[in-house]
Symmetry: C2
Subunit: 329 residues, 2 copies
């Protein structure tokens, strides 16, 4: 592979001039520019991007930290990020953590090593606090709500959505409501639990411990959830499920057992993917792809030195067949 010196020699100019041509600097006499261009063509020259990056001090690459790419939620997110990144000529690397804090640390190390210019965090085994310590090495964007003032984040009004979901189920006449959490939206299920508790109190309903189910993420988990539901001693009449793969699994397993989902049990999902539409699952739609796009925007703004910003995206409750309002209204 020829280098810039060889091009310079062949074109009869200095390396500086070659560099100028490559970087579209003004002040290069047309004739020399052409000589350089010709030399580059003849030698099939391509600049060594690593050398460029070393000299310039950045990598033109962003890191996306997520538990796994093998789930519609995260691949949707990445799609959004990628769209925007591509438009800026930036590349991206994936760091899959499986929620392992050590893996997250490796991603942070990559930032410090300058392998990437910044990080978008969609995994959260480490505490926000811990992660934010690394901000001095480059922008870090969170994809979940965070109280910390000194960082940018984009998120769904998740607790609000959660609340409205519960209200919807209540409006359908349910009191004995279970929740199945996915851990996608952060470790802060704390708030959600509070919301849940408050709502149940206002309904005058005691909560049974078995109504709070965690770690459900896949279709398979959903099937299992149905089984667990069947075996509950104090069986709830409705379930709020924070991921639609899980809702789908629940619904399909119910159908297999010839149990109709709607009046009771009722289920309300989150995310509204193609599958929930096809199955007629009532769901809270969250704009996951847009979340990715905005995450990248925030990264880009941070890079330009703008102040941190928190963005909260809207959601939308879509009633279909797995929930039925009381009094037909």
């Amino acid at each position: 592979m020829p280098n810039i010196r060889e091009i310079a020699k062949r074109a009869g100019v200095s390396v500086t001039t070659v560099s100028r041509v490559m970087n579209h600097h003004p002040y290069v006499k047309e004739e020399k520019r052409e000589r350089v261009l010709r030399a580059m063509k003849e030698l099939k020259y391509t600049r060594n991007i690593q050398a460029v990056h070393l000299a310039k001090g950045y990598s033109n690459m962003i890191g996306i930290v997520l538990p796994t790419i093998d789930h519609a939620y995260f691949s949707g997110l990445v799609t959004g990020i990628a769209e925007k990144a591509q438009a800026c000529g930036m590349h991206f690397a994936l760091f899959q953590t499986g929620y392992d804090p050590l893996k997250e640390k490796e991603a942070l190390m990559s930032l410090k090593e300058q392998r990437v210019d910044g990080l978008i965090f969609c995994s959260n085994a480490l505490s926000d606090q811990e992660i934010l310590k690394w901000q001095e090495f480059g922008p870090i964007i969170f994809c979940h709500p965070t109280p910390h003032h000194e960082c940018s984040s984009v998120s769904i009004a998740h607790d609000q959505a959660f609340k409205e979901g519960l209200e919807h189920l209540a409006a359908c006449g349910h009191q004995r409501i279970a929740i199945a959490l996915a851990r996608i939206e952060g470790t802060n299920s704390q708030t959600r639990l509070q919301v849940y508790q408050e709502m149940m109190r206002s309904l005058g309903q005691d909560i049974d411990e078995e109504w709070i189910v965690e770690g459900k993420l896949t279709l398979f988990d959903g099937k299992q959830l149905f089984t667990e539901w069947q075996e509950m001693k104090n069986r709830p009449t409705a379930l709020l499920i924070t991921n639609d793969d899980v809702s789908a699994g629940f619904l399909l397993e119910a159908q297999r057992h010839h149990i109709k989902v709607g009046e009771s049990p009722a289920i309300l999902g989150f995310q509204n993917e193609q599958l929930s539409e096809a199955l007629g699952i009532s769901s809270i739609e969250i704009p996951i792809k847009r979340m990715g796009q905005e995450a990248f925007d925030l990264f880009h703004l941070s890079l330009k030195g703008e102040a941190p910003e928190k963005r909260v995206l809207p959601f939308r409750l879509i009633e279909r067949t797995t929930t039925v309002l009381k009094n037909n209204r």
Copy 2:
């Protein structure tokens, strides 16, 4: 950020010694090693990976070229690749092409620029021939069968699977069989069409043009496919569908129309994801994750200078409810 020189100064040694410590070279006196280590700790030193890469001449990064990450087929593939890559301490970047040849070229450029050490190609807008020209800049692995001798590839015995799929449908008593292709497994649907034609000839069945459907990839496409099927004048009694998201869409839409899938129409899918199991779709299982793993292995072998290798992975026909053998056997 401190650099190696500052560490050397602080530890009272040369930069070489520092470098040696970092790279776990033998022949460093214990006392000096400790001085270096201490200095690194005190200054919170981390090596600049870009400089390392420039000096060493590689990037420790692999590029994965695919149409989109937002589909179970490809995210499964990436999962497999990532597992192996992580075990080798390699990082990876994604290049999403949407089957755009220009985007594929950009990925190839990244190889030449030495942004990545190699490429795993799961997108194929460009011809194999064209892509292989870039092999001089680093290993390129194909995830589809290719006749070219000078490159490594891993693939499913896709044509064989396709053939057995057709045979299965024939064994179920079908003659009027349609096929829906997804373009996931390469532009070479040529061979598959041949297989199809031969099979139909041997069944003494003329092919209706409308029985060959292309470009079906998503659940939504599957719903549409059902509609298209209903509107066919010469309606086939069975469909071989090369992607299970599509089969699922077809099945769900059929159910919505209260049409039972099994005897007729029968459908046979490909890929066997969780969804097809949950829906009871007969499917040809292909080990997509393993394909990713082997792709990375092949990359790794190429890097070590091993000769190119073609690997063909097995498949497995799984009968469920959407196909029914004739004579109950």
